[in-house]
Each structure stands twice: as C-alpha cells, then as structure tokens.
C-alpha cells in the first residue's frame, strides 16, 4: 500500500491517500475536526444526520438514495467519533472501486461530487436547513443518546468519564447531552452549520486503487466552492498527567440491572505528554488489553470474580480505562484484585512469556489494520491528531522492541483517579 504524505489541498482541508488494489471498494471519509464541548457536541453530531436527509439537487431520502443506488450501491453514513477532546464529525462513503464497475464509469469522481454536495448544498427552506428534517433527526439523536442506557457496559464507561472528567471537555459523550439536543432549532443549527463549515479544520481520507493525483484533483475541484473564513487549527486536547484529586474518587449509581458494572479510570502520568506510545500499549495489553492479560487470566479465569474484565487506553487523552462486569457482592474483591494486577505490572511481576504474548497480540493487531478499510480510515484519522504520521507497520516495529524495563517505566506513573460502580436497585435502609 502506498501512503501519500498528508497534505493541505484547500485552506484548512487536508488529504491523506492510501492507495491499494486489495479491496473491491473504495472509501472516503470527510471529517470536520471540532473541539469537543458540552455546549456544541449535540449540535455538531446532528449536522451530518440532517445533511443526509437531502441536498438542493436531491431534496429527499428517495431521490438521494436513487443517486446512491445508481452509483452501484454507494453507501454514505454519518460518522461521529471522539478522539481525545476532538469531536470528528462528517461522512464515511464506501463505493465500488472503479476497477470493478461493470459499466466502466468513474464512480470516484461522482462520489466526491456527491460528498461535496451533501456538505455544501443541503436542502433548505426559507434559507435555513429544513425544519422538518432538523426536528425528526433531532428526535432520533435524542433517542440514540437515551438508548445508551440500554448498553450497560458503554453506559458505565460514559458515566465514569462524565464524573472523572467533570471539569474537562472529555467528560462529554460523542453525541452530547439530551438537554442540549432538546434546545436545537433549525435556525440555530443553520447558523452553527455555516460557522463550522467556514472555520473547521477538515481531514479527508481516501482508501482505494486511484492514484493520489486523481483523488486530489477530484477533491479540489468539488470542494473548491466551500465558503472558508478564518480556519481554526486542529483542536488540542488537555492532558492531565495526574489524578484530579489527591484521593481516589468513588461513585455509585443504582439502576434496575442484574449484573453490576465496574469502571475504573486511571491517568497515565507524564508519559502521556511524550510520543512514547509503544511501551504504554504493551503495558496495557499485558495488564488487561488481551485474552492472555493479567485481568483476563486472574480476575476472570482464576478467581471467577467477573464475567469480563479488560483495559483500554485513550492515548490522545492520557487515560486508561478498566471495564468489568461483576456480581454486586464482588465489588470489593474485584476492585482490589484489579489494582493488585496493575501493581504486579508496575513492579515487574510478569514473565517473559506474558511480555511476549502481549507484544505478539499488539503486532498482529497492527498488521491487520491494513486488511480492513474502515480500520485504515480510523487509524490514519487518529494519526492526523499527532505530530507526525506513524504507519501501523512502523508502530509494530516499535512495539516489538519494547523491553521489560520500558514497561516498568511506562507503567510507573499510572494512577487510579476515579472508580464508578453501576449497582442494582437500592434496598430500603441499605446505605451505600
């Protein structure tokens, strides 16, 4: 695969091209990189949904879908991603690669034109985004925010970050809050959309068989009409290297659930301010990021304290998360065992075998990024947030070079910040 250098093709619009013959389809994502904020998150998340209801030329779902179907089942979906404190909002398009289009048409050009049209020329009424579209998509967004409570594992994670990062932008979920979504009007959203369109830093990522020059030409000619004002730089993420309070904070919610959910948030320490990503990844994989990890082997398998227990890292924010499903009465034991296992990693209480398994797991994972188009898009979009583009193969090499000492120094400063427990219904007289 040829990865072109990411470059600015229009004011504040950057293009990354991944050229490969491996897939039958091509993909393009257009991402407005917006600062995550409680006030704007819901508005931002609503924009691509409303825009996908219709354009000036294809004003409703039926005519828009007809245009998609004509292009061999082009699929364009709204995407809202949270990377650190950046809310990445836009579209992901997947379409038949020109090599496999039976009629020999150049689908890529037409897809790029449609994406530009979706972003720049929405269906309007009286100069505003159509009120009926805004209202119906708003209701669907609210219902999506509400239904997050249906997935108890994700809900516990959201609550943890909300509480742990209450004074930080990171405490806001990727779709924003129901309360802020309720306040959105067609007039307000139109104003916000216009402002975002003229100022947002934009990242476009292409993956498919076309040469970079062709992609660039299509993007430049279709997006040239974008009304650009003073373009904002890529939003920054505030990294806190240590816990917000001297003592670990504990929170419990009671809901009508049959299984308890335990979520623990950690700060990674000073290493989060560096580019030393590989040792932290290995430490995490060994602690709880793989099925050969300490959490899996001990908390789940050996002690049967939980149904699942795993850890993950948001490198962009410098946070580690442990997520676990437990019986209500196993709370103390499970929490203490989780911290014990982290201590073991920090003290170097692991075997050569554990280290190698963790590295192998990560390397395999990084190598397979190139086998899935959407993962490539995810990976390279994430890279745009850093100081430089690190290809997955290169990161795999860095991972393979990680030593036990590297892990020790990477894990040294990891500190628990907040513990969140989603408990069952509260019984009378049973204080928690």
């Amino acid at each position: 695969m040829e990865v072109s250098n990411r470059k600015q093709v229009l004011p504040g619009v950057y293009l990354t091209c991944l050229q490969t013959d491996q897939f039958k389809t091509g993909s393009i994502s257009v991402n407005m990189m917006l600062p995550l904020s409680r006030a704007d998150a819901a508005k931002n998340a609503l924009i691509p949904r409303v825009l996908l209801r219709g354009t000036s030329a294809y004003p409703d779902i039926e005519s828009l879908t007809a245009a998609f179907d004509e292009l061999f089942g082009l699929s364009i979906v709204p995407v809202v991603r949270k990377k650190g404190e950046v809310q990445c909002v836009g579209f992901y398009a997947s379409f038949a690669d020109d090599r496999h289009v039976p009629t020999g048409e150049h689908v890529l050009d037409k897809v790029t034109a449609l994406l530009a049209q979706l972003l720049l020329s929405p269906a309007t009424s009286g100069g505003h985004l159509r009120g009926d579209y805004v209202e119906s998509e708003k209701q669907k967004l609210i219902s999506d925010i509400r239904s997050s409570v249906n997935d108890k594992r994700a809900y516990a994670t959201d609550r943890l970050f909300e509480l742990m990062c209450s004074g930080e932008a990171y405490g806001t979920g990727r779709f924003g809050t129901e309360k802020n979504a309720e306040k959105i009007t067609a007039v307000g959203l139109t104003k916000h959309y216009k402002q975002v369109l003229s100022t947002a830093h934009i990242e476009i990522i292409y993956c498919g068989s076309a040469r970079e020059t062709l992609v660039e030409r299509a993007v430049v000619s279709e997006f040239a009409a974008m009304p650009r004002g003073q373009v904002e730089p890529m939003p920054a993420t505030q990294i806190k290297t240590t816990p917000a309070k001297a003592d670990v904070r504990y929170y419990t919610d009671h809901l009508n659930v049959t299984q308890g959910k335990l979520a623990v948030g950690f700060r990674l320490g000073d290493i989060a301010l560096t580019n030393e990503r590989a040792p932290v990844m290995v430490a995490n994989a060994m602690f709880g990021g793989s099925v050969t990890s300490k959490l899996f082997m001990n908390v789940r398998e050996r002690l049967s304290l939980c149904y699942y227990a795993s850890s993950s890292i948001d490198w962009r924010k410098g946070i580690m998360l442990v997520s676990s499903g437990i019986e209500f009465d196993k709370y103390d034991e499970a929490l203490s065992e989780i911290l014990t296992q982290l201590e073991a990693v920090r003290k170097g209480d692991f075997t050569e075998n554990e280290l190698e398994s963790a590295k192998k797991y990560l390397i395999t994972n990084l190598k397979t990024v190139a086998d899935q188009q959407f993962r490539l898009d995810e990976y390279y979009l994430d890279q745009t947030l850093g100081d430089f583009i690190l290809r997955p193969e290169k990161l795999a090499v860095l991972v393979s070079a990680v030593t036990a000492e590297d892990v020790l120094s990477a894990a040294r400063d990891i500190m628990p910040d907040t513990v969140y427990f989603l408990n069952g219904p509260q019984e009378d007289g049973n204080e928690d």
Partner: protein
C-alpha cells in the same frame, strides 16, 4: 486442486475433495496480511433428530451449541482457544441452526494455527466434571439471552411462522434440555456429525492451497463416513403457524419483525437465485430507495434501523422485515398495501435496474471481508451452490421474476408479526 475463476470480480478459488470426504476451499486473497480459516460442520441447533444406518436418534435441544463450547477442552487439560491466542491468532466459534464453525485468523504461523484448529475440532475430550461445569455456564448464558429483546423478537417470528421445523427453537436450548446432556451423548454426536464427509474447510488469504490440503490429510481421520439423514419435521405449507406473537420487555420503544414463509428450492443454485431475487424484491419494495420507506420514515413510523431481507436455514426459507416503530401494526398495514400496489403496477425499469446495481455493490463489498467470504463458501458448500456465481445470476434476474417472487412468497394474508413492547404499554 481445481481452480475456479470469477474474473469480473477478480476472485480465484481452489477446491478439492479429499479421500476422507472433506471439501476444501481456498480463496486467494493477495495483499492481505492476515489469513483466515473456518472449519465447519453441517450440524446446528436444528439437527436434533437424525438417522444413521437404520436407526433414528433423538437428542436434546442445545446439544450442537453445547458441543461447540466443549470442543476447546484438550485431553492434556489445556484450552485450544488459549493456545491459539498465545500464538498470536484470534479465534472463535459459533453455532447456528444448521452449522457449527470454528475459526481463527492470524498473521504469522498460519500452518501451525491451522494444525491446532484441525486437531482440537477432530479430537473430542469430555468428562462428567467438565460437562456439569459447562451446564452451569451455558445455563447462565441461556438466562441472559432470555432477557435479550432482539433474540426474543426473532424467535417470536420464527415460532409464529413454523409449526414443526426445529429452527423455531433457540440454538442454545433450555436449562432443562441441556441438563440431559452427558459425555456419552456428546461423543456420539461428535462421531456422527464431525466426520470429514459432513464438513468443509474454508481458507482465505495469501496462502498456499496445497499446504491447506496437506494439513487436513495429515491431521484428520483418513476414512470417509456416512452422512446422517436429518428430520426437520413434516412439510410446513405456506400458511404461518400463528399470525402474531407479542410480549413486553425492557425496551425503550416497540420493536417488531414481520415475515412470511417461502418454499426453498431443492437445487442449490436455484436456492441461491431465489435468495438474490428475494433480497432484491424486498429492497425494491421497502428498502431505503423505495417510496414506501421514504413515506414511513418521514411520518416517523420507522427508523434508520429498519431492514428487510430473505433468509434460509435448516431446510426452510422466510422473508423478514422490521425495526423500531411506535406503531408496528400500522407499518405492517402499509407494507401490505404496497405489496398489492406493486403487484399491479410493477417497479418500473429505471427503478428496477437501479436496485440491481445497488445489490451488485453490496455483494461486492462482502468480498472485502475474509470472514464473510469463508462463511459464504461454507454455506454454499452445504447448500450445494457456488456463492461467487451470485454476480452472474443477479445480472440475469428480471423484473418479472422479482414480481413473481412477491406474488408467491409475500402474500399479505400470510404475514406473521412479532412485537416486543416496552413494559407498561
């Protein structure tokens, strides 16, 4: 090995039938870092009553799924899943109504991992203790799925459509039925269904096809064996067993599935053709590009998650459509009206051809995924068709044929409806 080419979509498949009866498929995927293997047996939750020799056997509901769980236990006390993970592979298994499959993907050491896969699936090891422990674990799993609205909704529809076919029962069985399982029943079922003549090995990636056959020849039993005859019950006819299933559960809004029974052609290629035709018909009738979808969506009666399709399993086929809706009955009435209207007016040439283009793109997208290619290869093998012929078959489907499908298989009076409503509604 034999080679089949599908030049229009750029695919190449190597096939071989080994002396022991095993069918091997290797789908060439140059450029991929990982390789994927799926080792499947034509044995699922619906295969409970079967004949071997002259004798009929009845086995407890949930046994195929139970067997899948226990296959990872090795006689030396190790667990095959952990072994594969420790070697850097990602592994898993699943049981459907008519298939059990074990799979892994890995970047390095493919042959080594393939050997592990073939070994553990062909070497059963069950003890009283391990079986009784698993009864507890799967019992928990069953209780959890009983609270799952999606599963309940789906089986609500299948139980309404079918009176006898065992596909109407959940694959995992019940706490009571799995209590009847013993090491002996597991060994017997393994012997009957996990014989290479009843299995397929499907591999996709940048892999030497001969190496795959070599591994299978070395590790698996050398002799072919008889393939059991299954009993899925008497012919079901076209009328649904019941027209309605309804229940209240912890959901935020009502969800529903509607569906009809279809007659599954015996011939595999005809069955594939019918599947394409059915999917196309439903897409044209109520997919995102249809006037009906647009109306229902604008009126707030359906949501983005509304979907429709054709499915076949364990000798039966059905259409299925649904999603979240505040008024499932109203949506169903609108669908019935649309069926009658389209049957009279047809789709129109432009709309029909566009639908076919969209289906082509959707099928093409599936070829990006090694897991879906291997899964299709196994399904195609057990169903007696070549999945990659879908592109050429799709091209030859006419509007008339699609309308015939609707006339035969989507009769409004024969639609069954399954609804889950929020508690208190």
């Amino acid at each position: 090995m034999k080679i089949k080419e599908y030049p229009s979509v750029g695919e190449r498949v190597h096939t071989e039938r080994l002396d022991n009866g095993l069918s091997v498929y290797v789908i060439e995927k140059k450029g991929y870092n990982k390789a994927y293997a799926l080792f499947a047996t034509k044995y699922g939750g619906a295969d409970r009553r079967f004949k071997l020799g002259d004798k009929w056997y009845d086995t407890p509901a949930g046994i195929a799924h139970f067997l899948e769980h226990k296959m990872f236990d090795m006689s030396d006390g190790s667990n095959a899943l952990t072994t594969l993970y420790a070697k850097g592979a990602t592994a898993n298994a699943f049981t459907s109504s008519d298939m059990t499959a074990y799979l892994f993907e890995s970047v390095d050491g493919f042959r080594d991992n393939l050997d592990t896969l073939l070994s553990f699936v062909s070497q059963p090891w069950f003890t009283d203790e391990s079986v009784s422990k698993e009864q507890g674990i799967i019992g928990q799993e069953i209780r959890m799925t009983e609270d799952n609205p999606g599963i309940c909704l789906y089986y609500g529809l299948l139980r309404s459509l079918f009176a006898h076919n065992p596909a109407r029962d959940t694959v995992a069985g019940t706490v009571e039925s799995i209590a009847e399982i013993s090491p002996e029943t597991l060994y017997n079922c393994h012997k009957v269904f996990y014989n290479p003549s009843n299995m397929a090995l499907c591999v996709a990636g940048d892999v030497d096809p001969d190496m795959v056959c070599e591994a299978a020849r070395e590790i698996l039993p050398k002799e072919p064996a008889d393939v059991p005859v299954r009993d899925y019950g008497p012919d079901e006819g076209r009328e649904p067993f019941e027209r309605r299933f309804e229940r209240c559960m912890e959901v935020s809004a009502p969800v529903f599935y509607g569906g009809t029974k279809c007659v599954l052609p015996e011939d595999g290629t005809l069955a594939l053709r019918q599947e394409l035709c059915g999917d196309l018909a439903l897409r044209l009738l109520m997919g995102r590009g249809s006037g009906l979808y647009s109306r229902l969506y604008s009126d707030g009666l359906i949501d983005y998650d509304f979907s429709a399709g054709y499915e076949s399993v364990a000798g039966v086929a059905y259409t299925l459509f649904g999603g979240e809706s505040r008024e499932p009955d109203k949506v169903c009435e609108e669908i019935k009206k649309e069926i009658l209207g389209i049957s009279r007016s047809g789709f129109g040439k432009g709309f029909f051809e566009r639908g076919k283009k969209a289906m082509y793109g959707m099928k093409l997208r599936e070829l990006n995924s090694l897991d879906s290619i291997c899964y299709s290869a196994a399904r195609g093998h057990f169903g007696g068709y070549e999945p990659l012929r879908a592109f050429e078959l799709l091209e030859s489907i006419s509007e008339e044929e699609t309308l015939d499908f609707i006339g035969e298989n989507l009769v409004p009076d024969r639609i069954a409806l399954s609804i889950i409503r929020p508690v208190g509604q």
